[in-house]
């Protein structure tokens, strides 16, 4: 039995190269953002850029774009779980 799913998605090589270039640009941007000394905002900018990079890797390199909807939805389970844990912990730290 051949591996049929994804067969419609013969992703052109250029797509991966373009994503890679985008990742390198975002890395340059995150270093620039860190050097701008924006205080707490540089933290926000760095995490936002890191999340953009992670999304590119998940969506293209890890083929989520070409997977069934189940995979696209499931990835939110760990992301939301970790986010809830971190946010709730910070409520404890800020308002205790």
């Amino acid at each position: 039995m051949e591996q049929k799913q994804e067969e419609r998605a013969h992703v052109p090589t250029q797509v991966f190269v373009i994503v890679w270039i985008a990742l390198l640009c975002l890395t340059g941007l995150t270093i620039k953002a860190a050097q701008m000394k924006m205080g707490e905002w540089s933290m926000v900018a760095n995490i936002a850029i890191a999340s953009a990079k992670a999304s590119l890797v998940l969506w293209f390199f890890m083929h989520l774009k070409y997977e069934k909807r189940l995979f696209k939805l499931l990835i939110f389970v760990p992301i939301i779980t970790v986010s809830i844990i971190i946010v709730l912990t910070f409520f404890d730290i800020w308002y205790r």
Binding site: Q3, T30, S42, A54, M62, P78
Partner: protein
Amino acid sequence: MNETAHIEHRDYVGAKLGMWLFLFTEILLFGGMFLVYSVYREVNTADFHEAGMEMNMTIGAINTLILLTSSLTMALSIAAIKRAAKMRSILFQAVTIILGIAFLVNKYFEWSDHIRHGFYPDSPKLLAMSHGKILFFGLYYVMTGIHALHVVIGISIIGFILILTLRDSVSGTDYVKLENAGLFWHLVDVIWIYLFPLFYLIL
């Protein structure tokens, strides 16, 4: 005997779903450490700022470059096997392994440099410092150490898959093992994408 009994059944969606579920546990493992980092950073902001000055941003940036490029070659090796280009896929897998080793070599020089400067767990110089700085270096060694362990495991898995590809056990019609190895490798890259700003940039 029934002829159809000879047809091997393979569940590719199930195989990938299993891999993703495993990756979720990895996200939770590192998520827990990110939680500890963010809480201690919130409580010891100034100490984390000063301790972060000891980090070599250039090495961190080079390692980011290496891992991002290795993710590209991993994706290209899967694209190649889908087109049944066996040798091209093997070549890209080999390049991925080499880049992974280059990452570890960099890490070795980086860590030896810290140790030479007296920054290692329980070192007299570190123990004499403030609580926040001890925490920063503790988190640094644990988080990048466990990440480096994942790089070692990833390299071993890709090496194993490379042999399977040579033996045609991974081929243009059955490549889910390579895909799952790729998923693991990309996740290791995703984790580094967050580790890089946390330890080298946020100052």
